[in-house]
């Protein structure tokens, strides 16, 4: 077996799972973040408490525990079939980071200067118009850097799905290691480099997002 390119070639089959899990769970978590973030700002006490519970439970425990729990406990406790381990991975990662990101959504909306909301009311906007035209465009800009950072965290989280027998990059790395132990250092370095290359666009975006965040926000 010859170095880096060879090892890289053997890890590439895992990219599909890693990337598809990342994309799906990222989309799912963004959706959850907006739903939960807005629910926590709602006037309905029950809705607020319920989403509060969701956020605290998912932020208060580990992703790895949630992943195992979703695999073993959900089908038995609730009689729900979550489908393949792929969808379990997406749901667990999405719900976990959705909880973290909902706090970002909530705090960004609260951070929009109160004068903006008052001005929208003075202009006789409906509350939907106010959200869509005034609050959101400013709040979303502020959210961008944190969303990028958490997406990097999510990418790191996807490595855990190899533990629920999904064939991602780390899974192929582990297989390769068990047959060529002396190549272990090189194998894991290549695995790390693959993850880093996947994270790189997100890192660059998060740096740019910090500049975007400051533009066009009243304070």
């Amino acid at each position: 077996m010859n170095p880096i390119t060879d090892i890289g070639g053997q890890l590439i089959p895992g990219l599909g799972i890693t990337i598809s899990i990342l994309l799906a769970s990222a989309l799912f978590s963004y959706l959850m973040a907006f739903i939960a973030g807005l629910c926590r700002l709602s006037k309905n006490v029950f809705l607020r408490k319920f989403t509060g519970l969701y956020v605290e439970v998912f932020r208060g425990t580990s992703l790895i525990v949630q992943l195992f729990w979703f695999v073993y406990a959900i089908p038995i406790l609730f009689g729900v079939n979550l489908g393949s381990n792929w969808s379990i991975g997406v749901i667990a990662i999405g719900l976990n980071y959705g909880a973290y990101l909902s706090e970002v959504v909530r705090s960004s909306i609260l951070a929009v200067a109160p004068g903006q909301s008052e001005a929208a009311t003075a202009l006789n906007m409906t509350s939907f118009q106010k959200m869509r035209l005034v609050i959101f465009p400013q709040a979303v800009r502020m959210m961008l850097p944190e969303f990028a950072n958490y997406t990097i965290q999510m990418l790191k989280g996807t490595a855990l799905v190899s533990l629920i027998s999904l064939n991602d990059v780390l899974y192929y790395g582990n297989i390769l290691r068990s047959s060529n132990l002396s190549y272990a250092p090189l194998i894991y370095i290549v695995v790390l480099i693959i993850y880093f290359l996947l994270a790189l666009p997100l890192i660059l975006f998060s740096r740019k997002a910090e500049k975007i965040a400051k533009k066009g926000v009243a304070n």
Binding site: E56, V57, R59, G60, T61, S62, L63, I64, V65, Q66, F68, W69, Y72, A73, I76, L77, I152, L155, K156, G157, T158, A159, L160, L163, L170, G173, N174, R177, L181, S182, A184, P185, I187, Y188, I189, V191, L192, Y195, F196, A199, L202, I203
Partner: protein, 239 residues
Amino acid sequence: MNGNYWSWERFADAFPIVLEGLGTLISVTISTFIFALLFGFVWTFLRRIKNKQINWIVTWLMEFIRSTPPIVQLFFIYYAWPVMPVIGVTLSGFASAVIGLGIHFSCYIGEIYRSGIESVDTGQWEAATALNLSTWDKWSKIILPQAIPPTIPMLGNYFIILFKEVPITSTIGVQGILFMANSYGAQNWAYIEALTIVGLILLALSYPSAVLIKKLEVKMNTRFDKNAAIQMNKGVTQQ
């Protein structure tokens, strides 16, 4: 026994077994955090070197460690380090966990220190130079005492994040609560109760700490706001 239903008996049966891992979880967390706090200074020091190339390398090395999965880093240290030529040594699961997660989190902590140091007023640096203080005195008596305390809530947050990350060390054989739950599950072919206990223990420990740190943050913010800074400057010059 059959793990196809929830059983309170099994819950009671598994509880003491899972709890056996709590000591390990806490000791790994604390040792790792101490390691990360110390190693964080290394990064802060390296980033202050005024050489463009070194600065670039250090910045990207930190970025590399921060944005790659800690579980792969743990596997690297646990499985790959022993077979490295010359520098390779076999490390226990505990040592691998402390070093692996410690280095991972030190990259975050180094950045926190840096932000703390940068927020120290320039007048303080100038005053230290004007008083002809040695580099050691400048750092130990002027800069760090002002730079570090305001970062304590942020460090506390990372302590909790670390605490929740430690269960991944069960994959390299560290016998924390998750390891115990998985081995109980494998023996009895019933995972639900044991895994639920793990979740409850984590929640019971991390939620109150998070609330505590939020309170600390509010307290620190009032203490270290701009007016208070003037008071503090007086305190420093009196020494």
